[in-house]
Symmetry: C2
Subunit: 433 residues, 2 copies
């Protein structure tokens, strides 16, 4: 039973996930409102934007692999439609390098037998800086190399597109790699995008679609207090079981006075690491420090990652020469300080991988909070409470999984995607209700 | 012969040196104007503020030691008078720790037999964060220790106040030091100050003394073109020999329109690394990258320095918990980029000295340009050109030497300081005229 007088969906959270859902809903003609005190400033602002389900594979996380592969396939059309709706000039489609020469050229029909990205238009890497030149995972020591080799065997068993490379082959692809690189694993269909450009485009598209953006903090959920829902209660605000009929708002200090509440037919909780402050969801903040370097010429032509001194580092090149170096993983609660230790690790490991980074200017260092879940898989779908849907817990995959998450929330799944909803269903956690 | 209609001294450069000269001149009743497009933003903004003539001693630079010792003695009264003129609350005098306990207590009569700081009032470390708790130079390896031992012998020969310490004694003074520290050298009378507070106080004092501050770039020197000075010439703006009678100004882009020139009886060139753009002085920019960390509690109670992996690093604690980590030395021209390599070195070396820094927040990283000279000694005094005085080339000693430099320019030297002027005289360089 919808709340009286409210036909709107309220999206709590203006990160890449919340904005993507709002945009797809608005595009389908649905009235929608976004609530966030500072849109596009959290984990989406910090994120490097790797769209790398293959190179991120682990032995225990095949559900995440399936979700990631499905969302990666959606990225080219998602990006193209977004660029169109945002009014970006040029084409926001996707390019792929033709090979080790590094010359970017449009791919007309790169249909992949491995289920990777399908046919992608003749776009250049404009607008959203979406690129699909692959990810190269490199190893230094013999142990690292053996680990990488094991992983390759596992990936091949899963039918994933990977290529084993010698150290020399790695350096032929990426001449700036350290001479001490002994070998590597190429995931040629992995891609990446600039999340800051994506959220800016989403905000522009929402503006053009006249979607209200309320810059305030959602301080609580409004519950139906007339007991009309079985199992509901009139005892208080946080009571479980009463239908959710909107959100209470808290104005930013010194900001303009927003409405004190918004009533909604449906509330979609997409508040990332802060989701647990509004509902009972098993999401915790996992801090990541990340650095952006500025380079006159690009040092790399694809994403490069590796394990250095036991810690994992990746380098993501942007079209404008920016090089993103990420990221620490720290369980420190809601702590977003950039620390000497975090910065030191990033710099040390990046130098080890690509010594030439020492010459680059440090443009930006930030810390973001990833929304972690107990099984590293996001929580997407109806909660146990009528009127409340969840789209949170994306951990390291918010950028990759945004198109699929939006499709799940809009109910726009393709035939072969039908069973994906079950993989990330909130119902797998008892505490959600 | 003074320029017609101009009785003012124009100080070109609003760093700690230029502002100090302007303040002392204005205080003595002299009309003065300061010209700088962005006062207090260059090397003075980057500087750590070590007042450490003893621990900075090298085998070849005894002139610099004498200048530094003389200026250090002037710092307490300079600071006290500055705090008064700037209207700072509290007392900007100087404190010294009573010993290894680290309790700061006022020193009433700390007259030193070594010629260090004389009697200093009962001030707390307020206002300018001026402190005199000494500098501890530490060594890790046997070679470092031997080098430090040699230096101690040399310092003792010079009659300087230094104490040799074991590793254990070092850690008793500074418990956060790395366990691997093998020994150290304490210069108990070395001091430090917060240069950002000093320049802010100087600007406030100048404001209260109604000294005009022209926010524009001095683009050239005005020369007397009537040939009245022997050896002068009317040929052009940069010609050597014609009396300097003022400065030409260039407005900042988009800023308010300043006067296009200021006529002066005397121009004092205190433009730091940029001095060579206005006159023939052998000054070159030496880049330094420096980092500020934020600590809830102070990690150190005195300045700590050491040589790590062949590069020299120092840590300067502030009263508010800030910890300054400096600094790189790079000959790269007018380059003020913060680089991955520079930041990496600072973090690596600071960690080695005091491992606990890894937990601290990175508050600030900047790069400044020190004005270097061929002999590392500043250039202070009349140039060969009538109407043009020089106060530049302070290299790493601008903060330490500001009080002495101002005294030299105002003609306020004590009896035993008479020969100091000759040490930094511009006449020692042939190219200055």
């Amino acid at each position: 039973m919808p709340a009286k007088g409210a036909h709107v969906d309220v999206i709590v959270g203006g990160g890449i996930v919340g904005l993507s859902i709002a945009w797809r809903l608005a595009r389908s003609g649905r009235p929608v409102t976004v609530v966030d005190p500072a849109p596009a400033s959290g984990a989406s602002y910090a994120a490097a934007g790797m769209l790398a389900p293959v190179s991120e594979v682990t032995y225990t996380e095949t559900p995440l692999l399936r979700l990631g592969m499905a969302s990666l396939r959606r990225w080219p059309s998602f990006a193209a439609e977004l660029a169109e709706d945002a009014g970006l000039t040029g084409n926001a489609g996707l390019t792929r390098n033709s090979g080790p020469t590094g010359d970017a050229e449009p791919t007309g029909d790169a249909g992949s037998p491995h289920g990777g990205l399908g046919a992608i238009g003749d776009g250049a890497r404009l607008g959203l800086d979406l690129r699909a030149d692959g990810t190269l995972d490199v190893a230094f020591g013999a142990d690292d190399l053996a680990t990488l080799d094991e992983l390759a065997t596992y990936m091949e068993k899963l039918g994933l597109p990977v290529e084993r490379l010698t150290g020399r082959e790695c350096r032929r692809l990426e001449p700036m790699l350290a001479p001490s690189v002994r070998g590597g694993l190429l995931a040629p269909e992995d891609a990446w995008v600039d999340p800051r450009r994506v959220t800016a485009a989403l905000l522009a598209a929402l503006d053009r679609l006249h979607v209200p953006l309320v810059r305030a903090r959602a301080a609580g959920l409004l519950r139906d207090r007339d007991g009309s829902v079985a199992g509901g209660s009139v005892a208080g605000d946080r009571v479980v079981g009463g239908r959710v009929v909107g959100v209470r708002l808290e104005p930013p200090p010194g900001g303009p006075e927003p409405p004190s509440e918004i009533r909604a037919e449906r509330v979609v909780l997409a508040a990332g690491a802060w989701s647990g402050e509004l509902a009972e969801v098993p999401v915790r903040p996992i801090k990541g420090q990340i650095m952006r370097l500025r380079s006159p010429q690009p040092l790399l032509s694809r994403c490069v990652r590796g394990t250095v001194h036991g810690s994992y580092v990746y380098l993501v090149p942007r079209g404008d020469g920016e090089l993103v170096v990420g990221a620490t993983q720290e369980e420190l609660g809601f702590d977003t300080r950039v620390t000497a230790g975090g910065l030191y690790e990033l710099l040390r490991d990046a130098r080890e991988l690509v010594p030439g980074v020492t010459e680059l200017e440090v443009a930006d260092v930030v810390a973001g909070l990833r929304p972690g879940t107990p099984d590293n898989v996001p929580i997407i779908g109806p909660s146990g409470t009528p009127g409340l849907d969840l789209a949170t817990g994306h951990y390291r995959g918010g950028v990759l999984l945004a198109p699929l998450t939006a499709a799940l929330m809009v109910g726009d799944l393709g035939g072969e995607e039908g069973e994906l909803a079950a993989l990330c269903s909130p119902g797998r956690f008892q505490e959600i209700s």
